[in-house]
Symmetry: C2
Subunit: 371 residues, 2 copies
């Protein structure tokens, strides 16, 4: 039954009255602007402390037009990839005195749109977005029109002239593919988690993420350069949904002319590959070689440890926030796309394809681990 006595919070007028000065003067002292004599300053500070005054940032933002807050919309916070990126954003923002409002789009363009609108409504000073779609971008154009800076994270949108911070996915995919080719592979699959109408890749029109586009280009380019014909046939999409990954992978591995190597678009897919392989009784790298995007910490303790494409995810977030804040502070040069390099970390998940294996002897450490 206890009814919270509607606590009216202490305002600057209360402090002013208690200190015996005008509202304007109290505001000058507590807001650290304008001038005030030392005596008055002390009086006001004392009164503020006594009353437990705490500025209403909302009111402050209202008049100044600045909220010292940046809005962030990511695909999925639960994914460690975005977790790291958000940490980078958060660190850079706080270092510059900004706060972060976070929203989750679930990789759904409609939700992203709603989130952006809400953030604009909250008058964030700028936005960082990992756009869920290359095509549904009206809301992002809206951001631009509102005059508030926008930075795209991890993905670009060609027809939108804003800053972006991405990794060099094309070259990363190329390098990974080349590594597999050098090990002797000719049938190389790329399995992506990206949403698509059909798991079988039929062409770029199915893809709505720049990263996926680039990676596919990388895989295809490296394959073509090695004289591999029709490399696209081993590309699969939509391995994100529960169960779907396992289905795609096992169908791929049990079909005729099965691939001898897999390039996984992220560590969740890599995990799926591991599980499916275990279920099918296949092992890495004897039966299948594997490279995964994203150097998640656990990839180094599996048996065998996984060769990965390490992406500077934290930096991706950190830099995007820095760039955004520079824009907010008023740097007006042309938007740029900052491309961060990736690293191929070779561990032990790459071997020769089964048909080329002759010296299989010396490599196993102890008894073959069975899952």
């Amino acid at each position: 039954m206890k009814r919270t006595t509607s606590k009216r919070l202490v305002t600057i007028s209360d402090v002013a009255q208690s200190a015996g000065v005008s509202k304007a003067t109290a505001a000058r002292v507590l807001g650290s602007y304008g001038t005030a004599s030392p005596v008055v300053k002390e009086k006001v500070r004392e009164a503020a402390r006594k009353l437990g005054y705490q500025a209403n940032e909302l009111a402050r933002s209202m008049t100044t037009g600045k909220s010292k807050t940046i809005g962030v919309v990511v695909g999925d916070i639960e994914n460690p990839y975005f977790g790291q990126a958000v940490r980078g954003i958060s660190d850079a923002a706080h270092a510059a005195g900004f706060d972060v409002i976070l929203s989750n789009s679930g990789e759904d363009a409609a939700k992203e749109k709603a989130a952006v609108r809400v953030l604009l409504g909250k008058r964030v000073d700028g936005l960082i977005v990992t756009p869920a779609s290359l095509y549904e971008t009206q809301h992002l154009h809206e951001v631009q029109r509102s005059g508030r800076p926008l930075v795209l994270l991890d993905r670009t949108i060609p027809d939108l002239a804003v800053d972006a911070v991405v990794t060099d996915d094309r070259r990363a995919a190329e390098a990974a593919t080349r590594a597999l080719i050098e090990a002797g592979h000719r049938r190389i699959a790329y399995i992506s988690a990206t949403e698509a109408d059909d798991p079988i890749y039929r062409g770029p029109h199915q893809i709505n993420l720049s990263t996926v586009m680039e990676r596919i280009e990388g895989v295809v380019a490296a394959s073509r350069a090695a004289g591999i014909e029709h490399p696209e046939r081993y590309i699969r999409l939509g391995a994100n949904r529960r169960g779907e990954g396992d289905k795609i992978i096992s169908e791929l591995l049990q079909g005729a002319d099965r691939p001898t190597a897999i390039l996984a678009s992220d560590n969740v897919v890599a995990l799926e590959v591991f599980k499916t392989l275990r279920r099918l009784g296949l092992s890495i790298p004897q039966d299948l070689s594997l490279i995964a995007f994203h150097d998640a910490d656990w990839t180094s303790v599996t048996s065998p440890p996984i060769t990965v494409i390490a992406q500077p995810v934290y930096d991706l977030g950190f830099e995007s926030a820095q760039i955004l804040i520079r824009r907010i502070t008023g740097i007006g040069d042309a938007p740029r796309c900052r491309v961060l390099a990736t690293t191929l970390i070779k561990r032990q998940s790459i071997g020769a394809p089964p048909e080329l294996q002759e010296s299989r002897a010396g490599l196993q450490k102890s008894t073959a681990q069975i899952g």
Copy 2:
């Protein structure tokens, strides 16, 4: 050189003027309160659409006193544990029409304090905090005094009468310890990532997290019940810092009377155990048995798969947000501590201790609900 023409955003007065009605009427239509005739409604909406009006939520919050925003302070977003929890919070919040402002404390009480203050300044309607310390809690009392609801996530603070959502760490630790004892272990280590002045455990005064406290109690209680003397000697703290984990683990394993089983406080520590073991040439479960808190997805694909204590992390977040929102909406019953059950998922990282290994008894898979 293009100077952004300081875009004054469209306000409700602009819309009102354009629609030929008063500001109050336009506000009623666009804010969906009060009444307005169908004709007027249409006129106003049309004008708003034409001008691209978007409400200033700041101004709205100012007058209503509600911001429809909840503040969240977690230890480390980068940690998948918190990632999942934040996702839960985010989902519950959005479902109820609330937004989330996220802050990172880095498990540092001072930063947490600052973050809480900022969030209060932004006039969030309520707060969810994973308190970094049992003792530095002035800022949390401050929240209470400000009259805004607070929910503690994952950890409790005994002298603070607020809602909390936690897992039953005591019983979880007990169950895990018992499982190890049943497998024949008598020398069981608990390695915690919690910050501490000294890695050697000397007593509760070193601990400033309720979870850690409870887990230690659980381990000790189960050990005592099995007649194990001085179980505390295998407790180690501070395995979080880079390199520190490896040092603690290898010293523990190379010392005299070394433990035959380890209980790891989270999956990061478990990872460290894996790495150190590999470096020392030891294997699981032949040389050491392992149980880890938190069922991170990768724990099922290591060799061997790790037995874990699965915590309903997403639910933890989801429920805490729900409880908070119920409080915001005005339910005034006494604060409660909601305790969620954990599950011991038995995989294959538990074996008999080396000295008892003769019959490599059946390592069966099973799960058991603990709470």
